[in-house]
Subunit: 141 residues, 4 copies
């Protein structure tokens, strides 16, 4: 049997709250999704004013970051035209993205979950998700 550690609701909600604080400071309402090590959603919130269009995108960023085990934007260069990963975004029935804003949450060297943020520019989304992931590292390491 294998033993694994994974994010619980309380920690996931903390991560989402950090992201929401950052987004509020930036004045950009966001969709915020946090998933566990298996990519399954633990918590989601759409701040008032965030785009409905980005609900599923936030979830997909979190899912991809948990699955890829690195931040989503890190994989982007490998999927450019001419690269071996070209076309990867069409995999997993679309639950694959390399847009910035997905970050894994690492604890004791293992990915225990991930956060995905979407509704602003890719840069804004990335800034918010990265902030929340860093706060997670500070709090839980």
């Amino acid at each position: 049997m294998l033993t694994k550690q994974t994010l619980g609701y309380e920690a996931a909600e903390k991560v989402a709250s950090w992201a929401a604080e950052k987004a509020a400071q930036m004045g950009v309402p966001q969709n915020i999704a946090v998933v566990d090590d298996a990519g399954h959603l633990i918590t989601f919130r759409r701040m008032d004013g965030a785009k409905f269009f980005s609900i599923e995108i936030a979830m997909t960023k979190a899912y991809a970051a948990a699955g890829l085990r690195v931040a989503t934007h890190v994989v982007a260069p490998k999927t450019q035209p001419g690269m071996p990963g070209y076309g990867a975004q069409a995999l997993n029935r679309g639950k694959f993205t390399t847009l910035g804003g997905g970050f894994p949450l690492v604890f004791n060297g293992a990915v225990v979950g991930a956060i995905g943020v979407s509704s602003g520019t890719v840069e804004q989304d990335t800034e918010v998700a990265e902030y929340a992931a860093r706060r997670f590292n500070e709090e839980f390491q």
Copy 2:
């Protein structure tokens, strides 16, 4: 232009919290989803121990209750064999359910959102969602 009212994040989170309190009292961890008047997700939480399998089901219950404008279980009898609604569950690419646990949230006579609960028995899911919808009525009417 038409003017309509819809649930915001703060109210949606309250509804989810009421559902979570009730679920905790019952000792049955739940997936809890709250959507707006258009069926778009506002908030979601998976309590520790709730089934991953029921994440999407909770969302579908909320979506269907917002869309049908009545609690999901109310529609069930009309979809039984021999009834005019037989087979309805296959519609909307599976975003249609008559399982108990989906309740519309009504404000000023209009559906402004809905809650969906899933992970326990259908009876338990229904009890939790109904409790949260009742608390919404008491607080916001």
Copy 3:
């Protein structure tokens, strides 16, 4: 080569308008879809107040009526438990329904299109679609 007749936009819009008139008389706002002989959408309207949930259902009723070449509710008995058509609603990725409210539009003995109506009760939807189909017969035969 085969020659076929199919509904054009002008006739389709007339059919939709008859349905809308009937729905307005009944005081039940409706989603109304009209498709051609191939099941492809020609015109759609959502009357103010009609359920967003039933947008795709109206289209599915029209699609199924064009495809089955009979009114959708006529097929329902053949799909009941124990009958040879049991489970048919899951076919065609869900673009199959036996709910009342889908009627073929027949011209010169051939199905040239179909209408689908959804947002009220199945009985109301059926009444509206049937009325529009009858008006089509009177106007175009």
Copy 4:
């Protein structure tokens, strides 16, 4: 509760009619879709001769413009190879496009709906949708 304004059927049909007039002048039959602020379809028409293949594309353009809150073609440069949004088209299960021909409809500073046009070249589709969106601005501001 949040209060918002959204497009009704009458205004949506006007927008579609302006698009159809423009398309007729250009001699290019079009698929024309108008959605509300939540991306839900209000009205659709396929002009005689328009491609069946572009029915869903017109709807997707409208959905994406309502969701992105800008014209679809505006987002295209950000999704080119090497750009942060590269691969975005695979998101939202394909309900994401940056093809020209999707324009948001803005009223009192908020997106109340969107129009999507598809069947001609991307340039033709864009011209028609932009014309209808401009007429909307003149009529409703």
